[in-house]
């Protein structure tokens, strides 16, 4: 890998938990945006942002889907903030075997927020656009980074890895072999 520097745009969604009303509009629109064809269906269970809601305790926390992880953490975290106790792993963004969060409901494949990457690109990610209470706001900034492997490659690898965790490498290889024959 080359260690060349290049500039990269860091896309940030700022989450102001205090402004969130727990409406789950972000979940709805994220799943609709990623439906094929776009917006043709919605299902919060497929969303790449999930709102942890415990309204009786005044808890609403939007959490974005981060990386897939094949193994759960050995330790767990539990936060208490302002006297409110949050569930184990509440703030973790990983699609992890210990929980159902951030997985496609039918295939179990991991979900990851892609910042609504699309062509032409959106002015702002959909969840931000549809969050009227402004709990979610979008920011871009430029930073210098070391050149990275292509994101796409990374996505493919993550997808495959999780499939392998589920079905075993042999089955994946067999399937790929069978499918490529069909073409």
């Amino acid at each position: 890998m080359t260690a060349k520097k290049k500039t990269k745009i860091i896309k940030t969604i700022k989450v102001d938990v205090d402004l969130c009303n727990g409406c789950r509009t972000c979940e709805l629109i994220c799943s609709a945006f990623h439906a094929v064809p776009r917006y043709s269906s919605n299902n919060p269970e497929r969303s790449r942002i999930r709102v942890i809601r415990d309204p009786l305790r005044g808890v609403f926390i939007p959490v974005y889907a981060g990386q897939y992880t094949p193994a759960e953490c050995t330790g767990r975290d539990k936060y208490i903030i302002d006297g409110k106790e949050y569930d184990e792993c509440a703030f973790c963004r990983a699609s992890c075997p210990s929980r159902g969060l951030f997985k496609e409901p039918d295939s179990g494949l991991p979900l990851k927020c892609d910042m609504c990457e699309s062509d032409p690109s959106l002015a702002e990610p959909m969840c931000v656009q549809w969050c009227l209470p402004d709990a979610l706001t979008y920011e871009e900034r430029e930073v210098e980074v070391e050149d990275e492997a292509e994101n796409e490659q990374e996505d493919v690898e993550i997808g495959l890895e999780s499939l392998a965790d589920k079905y075993g490498w042999q089955k994946i290889l067999d399937t790929v072999a069978r499918m490529s024959k069909k073409d």
């Binding site: 727990g22 409406c23 064809p37 043709s40 609403f60 409901p105 009227l132």
Partner: protein, 658 residues
Amino acid sequence: MRYAETGYNLEVDLSRGNVERVETDSDLAELYLGGLGTNAKILWERVPADVDPFSPENLLIFGTGLLCGTPAPSANRTIITSYSPQTKLMAFSMMGGFWAPELKYAGYDKLIIKGKSPKLVYLWIKDDKVEIRDASHLKGKGAVETSEIILKELDEPKAQVAAIGMAGENRVFFASIEQGRSSASRGGLGAVMGSKGLKAVVVRGSKDVNIANPEETIKLCSDVFDYIEYRERHPIKGVPPILAGIGSPQEMAVHDEQWHTTNFAWGNARVRRKDFWTPEVEKKWTFSMESVRERFVSCYNCPMKCGATINIPDLNPYMMKCYSKLTYTMASFTDLDAGLRMAQRGTEYGVDAFSAPQVMAFALELYEDGILTDKDFPGMPEDSEGRFNWLLDRIVRREGIGDILADGTYWAAQRIGKGAEKYAHNNIKKHEQLPLKLGMLNPIYFLMYCTGEKINITQIEGNFPQAPFPKREQREEFVKDWPQVPDEKFKKYFLDWEPRGENSIPHYPTIEATCEIVDWQERMHYIDDSTGMCSGLSAFPLKPPYHMHNLPKLISAITGFELDEEGLVKIARRNRTLVRAVNIRRGMRRGDEKPPEDHWKRRFPELEEKLLDAYYEFKGWNKEGIPKKETLEELSLDYVIEDFLQRGILADSEDEST
């Protein structure tokens, strides 16, 4: 493929423990939309007119609105329908929150409950998996408490729970069904649920809801959001703060309660306290609210925050919305602190926060006047809050005097006798109303009170201002920016409406204009109740984001069927007429259609008769309020004609009623 709908109902027979997933007819949505419309059709078809509300034969229908679970902002209503134990007529109470979309995502448009379970159970619906589970450990538990226990034992924090408290279990006629920040409170549906031995319905779904025209839908939804933001920046001038914005009344956020506390009556809907609201009270109440209001809460897919979590030291937290903030306080002549504490108890017990406080105030008035005596209230405390708690504890258990009061003021008065009927003075069709007592008859409100079949004024009124603005310039300002009117003539009605003189109530708006205004307001509610739209963004406030011009487009885009304004008006008329038909079949007639006698001091019997005649005619009903044959024909309600002829409700030749 079905759009907006899932195409399936879940049918549960609790007597036999049978669960069935039944495909529905895809034509129904084009005729009735969904929600209330299709609920009414099912009730009409499947529950005979003489069935007792607590009979196993009665159905309890949880219908999602047609647009619930789609991207349409604020479409989240569950419309619960059955026969009401209190009014004996059709009850259709709605709840907001998250339950309806969750049922759609689980793959069902409606949950239809029949029969009666031999022991207390709850229903657990997780997509295709449906279980009837034992609920004996939940007997007597509060509605909020029940939800918490169930979510824990199922380890399903994201499931949505609709539950009853002790009031529903014991068939209190004004028992509610509670669901998170919302409830279906009116008409005693909680009691019907209790009569079926059903403690709760728990839902979790992970399926897709499909949209016919995706791009168009998203564009229309974005327009709605834009207008919501516009209206938030442009509150309406010249009206009390409670009417200036959109959403349900912002009772959790607004501290200025002058309007409610000085205009609405206290106690048993008797006492106006015109000087009640002082800077000291405002300061105290603001402090009370702010010290217990933990957080604002919205419903599914809605940017508003009409509800709030209330967390009072030493009590379990609960969620509250709307005017229930004040009902306990005002009925008991206490203060906001006490009212919020009593509401916590009422929410756990699962009672309607409109009826329950009024029933208790009614009992205490009877006590003061000697119609009920000390022996009816053994051991009741002296202080007002203590008395209310004491009474509520007995009502929900149906103990002693509580057993009589649990039937609501109308039936309780019948049982008590000795002139108690006069104390049950604030009812329509046997159901307790907002405690409003006013001076001059208002023709618009007269018709809404008389003919409303939701039997609750806030669910009939809405888009037309409640009162004229004092100055013509103010009115001109208001109509300038009023695209919501279905027709320009409504602007003229409002412009010419004066607080005094010739063009003022009771003779202005004219009879004809009054009919049109009432019809428009009511139509919007019937549309909302079928689409599952929150009326807080549609039928209820002034200048809402949803109206007759954008709703047909949105429904079309989402469902894929052709619909224009005329078509939507027709569906709304069909649904409205069908609800009336259900009630006519249960015996409702013109004689039942009257406001509380003392609602206005100044009444005009002749004008009132004319108004009612004109409105019936306008709606295509005969003098008894029965839909005419040609009306039913026009609305493709031929099955109603057939039934009415058979029963002799309509005669073959002319529209004669029995």
